[in-house]
C-alpha cells in the first residue's frame, strides 16, 4: 500500500517557484557565480551544457513520466518510487557533475497521446536533460517520435517485446529473448517439459513474446498445444482453464497482465490446479512481486517466473537497495523487476554523463555503450551497443508470502538481442 509520501516528495509541487528562483540566481553577476562554482568544484555550465538544456550551475532538471492515474497507475507506481529514490540517493552523494538533480514529474494518465503530449512538454518547454519513464510499449511507441524529433533521452524500465532500437532510448529492462529463452531452456532442462500452453493478454508484448517462445519451443523439437489471448481486463478464465485441463500441457506459459492476472490465478487455484504440484507447471514472465500483491501469495504459490530481478536476490547491493527502498517508501512495500530496472535509469544516466563530461544528449548517447554499473541491485549490468542491458536471467519460485525464491540464475550475462534472427 502506498503510504503518504514524506515531506521531501512534495518538492515537485514547489518546483516551479524554486526554478524561478534559480533562474534569478543565474542572472546574478558572473563574478558572484564564479565564486560559488569554485567552491563546488563543478565544471562550468557552459562546458557541460551546449545545447540549452535545463542545467544551471548547481542543478540539472530531469523528467519523470509515468501514469499516476488511470488503469496503468497500478503498475507504474513502483517505477516512480524507484526513480525518485535513485535521484535522491545521487543527490545525497553529490549529484551529477556537481549538480543536484531536480525532477519534474508528469502524469501520462494511462493514455498514450497524453504521454506524447507530456514528453513533448518535458523536452520542449522544460528542456530536461533526461526522461525516466513509460511503462507500456504503447506509451513508448507514442513518445518515441517525440524523443527522436527533439533529441531527448528516455530511460525505459519495462521488460518488453524488443524489435526496437532507438538512439534516444536506453532500455533498462530486458527485451523478450533475454527473458524467454533462458526461462524455457530451464524448464526443459530441469523439469523435462515437453508440451506448452501459451496464454496471454491480447496486445503486442504477450503476442510477440509468445511468438518467440513458440519458435524456440519448436526449435527444441517440443510441442505447443495451445495458444490463446484474452482482451486486457478480462476476468473470466474458466473456459481456458478447462481447455488447459483437456490438453494437459507440461507447462502453462502465461503472459497475462494487469487486473486479469488476479482473476486468472484465483480461478486457476479454485479450479483445482495446485501449482505447487507442478502438474502442469506454470511459468510466467509477467508477474512480479508487485502483481502478487494483488493476486495474493497463497494463490500463486508454486508458480515460476523468469526475469532478471527478484526482491529476494541475495547480494549486498540488493540488500542495501531493499533497505533504502523500504526506508523511503514504507515497510510493507514490495519491489518487482521493473521497479529495479527503473532504479537503474538515473544511475546509468549519471554514469554516462560523468563519462561524457557533459549533459548534452549527443555526448551522453555516445558515452552510453559500455557503461557499467557494479552497484546494481541485480548485480552487474552493462549497456550494450544496441542500448539494451547485458543482464542475467533468473527463475524464481513463488512463495506464499508473495516473494520469489531464486532457483536458477544464468551463468553469464545474456546479450540483448532486440532483433532476433530466426525468431520472427
Amino acid at each position: 500500500m502506498m503510504k503518504k509520501a514524506p515531506p521531501k516528495a512534495t518538492r515537485d509541487d514547489s518546483q516551479a517557484s524554486r526554478r524561478g528562483l534559480l533562474k534569478m540566481l543565474a542572472a546574478l553577476p558572473a563574478s558572484l557565480m564564479l565564486a560559488s562554482q569554485i567552491s563546488w568544484a563543478a565544471p562550468a555550465t557552459s562546458e557541460v551544457n551546449t545545447s540549452g538544456l535545463a542545467v544551471t550551475d548547481d542543478t540539472v532538471t530531469v523528467g519523470i513520466l509515468h501514469s499516476i492515474t488511470g488503469t496503468m497507475a497500478i503498475s507504474e507506481t513502483g517505477s516512480v518510487q524507484a526513480e525518485k529514490l535513485a535521484i535522491e540517493q545521487i543527490n545525497a552523494t553529490g549529484g551529477v557533475l556537481g549538480r543536484q538533480i531536480e525532477y519534474i514529474q508528469e502524469d501520462g494518465a494511462s493514455d498514450w497521446p497524453t504521454f506524447a503530449e507530456k514528453s513533448k512538454k518535458l523536452l520542449v518547454n522544460d528542456k530536461v536533460a533526461a526522461v525516466f519513464g513509460c511503462w507500456t510499449s504503447a506509451s513508448r511507441k507514442a513518445v518515441l517520435p517525440v524523443f527522436e524529433q527533439y533529441n531527448g533521452m528516455l530511460y525505459y524500465p519495462t521488460f518488453y517485446e524488443g524489435l526496437e532500437q532507438s538512439p534516444n532510448v536506453i532500455y533498462t529492462g530486458q527485451e523478450a529473448t533475454q527473458q524467454i529463452i533462458a526461462g524455457i531452456d530451464w524448464v526443459v532442462k530441469e523439469k523435462g517439459a515437453k508440451s506448452f500452453y501459451l496464454l496471454g493478454s491480447d496486445y503486442i508484448w504477450p503476442r510477440t513474446s509468445n511468438k518467440i517462445a513458440r519458435k524456440h519451443i519448436e526449435k527444441l523439437g517440443l510441442k505447443v498445444v495451445g495458444e490463446e489471448y484474452y482482451p486486457l481486463g478480462h476476468t473470466q478464465f474458466n473456459s481456458v482453464i478447462n481447455k488447459i485441463k483437456l490438453r494437459k500441457p507440461d507447462v502453462i506459459y502465461a503472459i497475462v497482465v494487469g487486473g486479469s492476472n488476479v482473476a486468472f490465478y484465483k480461478q486457476l487455484k479454485a479450479a483445482g490446479i495446485d501449482l505447487t504440484k507442478e502438474k502442469p507447471l506454470l511459468l510466467t514472465i509477467s508477474v512480479t512481486e508487485d502483481e502478487i500483491l494483488g493476486i495474493g501469495g497463497e494463490n500463486i504459490d508454486g508458480a515460476y517466473a523468469a526475469m532478471k530481478y527478484f526482491q529476494s536476490l541475495d547480494n549486498p547491493n540488493n540488500e542495501a537497495f531493499v533497505k533504502a527502498f523500504k526506508e523511503r517508501w514504507g515497510d510493507d512495500i514490495v519491489i518487482g523487476d521493473v521497479t529495479q530496472a527503473a532504479y537503474l535509469g538515473p544511475w546509468l544516466w549519471k554514469a554516462a554523463v560523468e563519462k561524457a563530461g557533459s549533459f548534452d544528449i549527443d555526448k551522453v548517447r555516445a558515452a552510453s555503450p559500455g557503461i557499467e554499473l557494479t552497484t546494481a541491485p541485480e548485480g552487474y549490468v552493462r549497456i550494450h551497443e544496441n542500448h539494451h542491458l547485458w543482464s542475467k536471467t533468473r527463475v524464481g519460485l513463488a512463495q506464499p508470502d508473495g516473494q520469489y525464491k531464486v532457483v536458477y540464475e544464468s551463468e553469464d550475462l545474456i546479450e540483448p538481442n532486440p532483433f532476433p534472427e530466426g525468431y520472427q
Binding site: P113, K120, V124, A142, P145
Partner: protein, 409 residues
C-alpha cells in the same frame, strides 16, 4: 413579421463566429508558442466531435457514447495513408519484408492486406476519412433507428459497439497496429508534418475545417431539419404523425455527427502524428460528451469553447495536481448536469446577453424599443435567436427530454 425569412446567420451568431475565428486564427497563434498552439490544435479536433454531438444529442436528443468510434475510424484512415508513405522500401529495408508497415512485419505478415492498398492514394484516403465512418454510422443507425431503438438503449449499444471495435483493433494487431496504434507517421506527400512550420500550418487547416464544419452545422440547425430535430426530441410521436419518417432524420443527423468526428480524427492524426485504439474506447467517447455538455449542448460555439476549456484545464491541472484532476473532471460532470444543464452557453445567454446592446441582437431599433424590457429575455425564443434555450422561465429546460424509453408510455 420576422418569421418571413429563415436567416442562417443572424447577426449575433455572425458576431459569435467572427469572435471565435479571430480568437483561433489571430489571438492564439500570436499568444502561444508552437508547442502550445499544437496542443490547442489537438483540442480543436475534439471540438469537431462536440459539434456533432450538439446536433445529434442537443438537438436530436440522441446520445451516442460511441463517438470515439468515428473519431478513431477517421483518424485510422488518415494514419493508414501516412503509414504507407513512411513505409517505403527504402526506409524499411531492415525489415524481413521491406515496404510494408513495421508492425505488420513484426507480426509476420509478408504482404500488404488488400484493404490497405487503396490507402496509397491521397484522394481515396480523403474520401475514406469521411466515407468509412459515415458508412459505419449509417449501418448502425439504420439498424437501430428503423427498429426504434432510442434513448438510453441507444447510448448503451453505442457503448458496446465502441467496446467491440476496441477489442477488434487490439486483437487484429497485424493489420491495425494493435494497442500501440499506428505510430511514427512522418510525411504527407513528402511534406514533413513534424516540423514546427508544418504544425502551424496544420493548426490553421484545422481551424478552417472547424469553421467550415461549424457553418455547415449552423445551416442544418437553422434549416427545417434543425427544427424537425428539436420537434423530434420533444414530441417524437407528433413528428411521426405529421407525416415524417423520424428514423430518416435521426440517421441523417447521426451520420453528420459521425462525419464531423471523422474529420476531427483525421486532423488529430495529422497534428499528433499517430492514432491509437485508446480513442475508440468508451472512456474517451464519454469524455467527448462532457466537452459538449460543458459548452452547452445546444450551442455550436459553446461546444468549441467547451472542448478548449476542459482540455486546457486537464492539461494544466494534470501538470501541477494530477491527483486533483480526476476530482475536477468528476465534479465537472456532476456540476454541469445538476447546476448548468446548458453549459457555458446557457450562462452566457442568461447573464450576459440581456445586457448586450441592441445592435448585437440584430433588430431594428424601433422593434427593440417597442418590445421594451417587459421580460428579461423573452426575445430569446423568437425565431431570430440563436439557441432555443428558454432562459428566464423557471421550469426545467424543456430541452432535456433526451431520453425516450423504447417501451415506456
Amino acid at each position: 413579421m420576422n418569421h418571413k425569412q429563415i436567416t442562417y446567420f443572424p447577426r449575433k451568431d455572425l458576431i459569435g463566429f467572427a469572435i471565435l475565428a479571430a480568437v483561433l486564427m489571430l489571438v492564439l497563434p500570436m499568444a502561444l508558442d508552437v508547442f502550445r498552439l499544437n496542443l490547442v490544435g489537438k483540442y480543436l479536433t475534439y471540438a469537431f466531435v462536440a459539434i456533432g454531438l450538439v446536433l445529434c444529442w442537443g438537438y436530436g436528443g440522441i446520445l451516442s457514447l460511441g463517438q470515439g468510434v468515428f473519431f478513431g475510424l477517421g483518424g485510422y484512415c488518415m494514419a493508414m495513408f501516412l503509414k504507407l508513405e513512411s513505409s517505403d522500401p527504402e526506409s524499411t529495408k531492415i525489415q524481413s519484408t521491406p515496404g510494408i508497415p513495421d508492425f505488420m512485419d513484426w507480426n509476420q505478415i509478408t504482404e500488404l492486406p488488400w484493404w490497405w492498398e487503396p490507402f496509397y492514394s491521397l484522394p481515396f484516403t480523403l474520401f475514406a476519412v469521411v466515407a468509412v465512418p459515415v458508412l459505419f454510422a449509417f449501418i448502425i443507425s439504420v439498424a437501430m433507428f428503423k427498429r426504434r431503438v432510442g434513448g438510453v438503449y441507444f447510448a448503451i449499444i453505442t457503448q458496446a459497439i465502441a467496446a467491440i471495435l476496441t477489442i477488434l483493433i487490439i486483437g487484429q494487431q497485424g493489420y491495425t497496429g494493435g494497442v500501440n496504434g499506428i505510430t511514427d507517421l512522418r510525411t504527407l506527400l513528402g511534406w514533413d508534418i513534424r516540423t514546427d512550420e508544418a504544425k502551424t500550418i496544420l493548426y490553421f487547416v484545422c481551424c478552417l475545417l472547424l469553421l467550415a464544419s461549424l457553418a455547415t452545422a449552423q445551416i442544418i440547425r437553422r434549416n427545417k431539419v434543425g427544427r424537425i430535430l428539436v420537434a423530434m426530441r420533444d414530441q417524437e410521436d407528433r413528428v411521426r404523425f405529421s407525416g415524417y419518417d423520424v428514423s430518416n432524420f435521426k440517421i441523417f443527423v447521426f451520420c453528420m455527427a459521425a462525419a464531423f468526428s471523422a474529420i476531427g480524427g483525421a486532423m488529430f492524426t495529422l497534428q499528433v502524428g499517430f492514432m491509437s485504439p485508446s480513442f475508440v474506447g468508451i472512456v474517451p467517447s464519454i469524455e467527448m460528451v462532457i466537452y459538449c455538455a460543458v459548452g452547452g449542448r445546444l450551442s455550436l460555439l459553446g461546444a468549441v469553447y467547451g472542448s478548449l476549456l476542459v482540455n486546457w484545464a486537464k492539461t494544466s491541472l494534470s501538470e501541477s495536481f494530477p491527483e486533483l484532476w480526476l476530482f475536477g473532471l468528476g465534479a465537472l460532470f456532476i456540476g454541469v448536469v445538476l447546476a448548468f444543464p446548458n453549459g457555458i452557453a446557457g450562462l452566457f445567454q442568461r447573464y450576459v446577453e440581456p445586457y448586450m446592446p441592441a445592435w448585437y441582437h440584430g433588430r431594428v431599433a424601433a422593434k427593440a424599443s417597442e418590445k421594451g424590457n417587459s421580460t428579461t429575455s423573452g426575445d430569446n425564443v423568437t425565431p431570430d435567436t440563436s439557441e432555443e434555450v428558454p432562459t428566464g422561465s423557471d421550469k426545467q429546460p424543456a430541452t432535456l427530454k433526451g431520453g425516450h424509453y423504447v417501451n415506456a408510455e
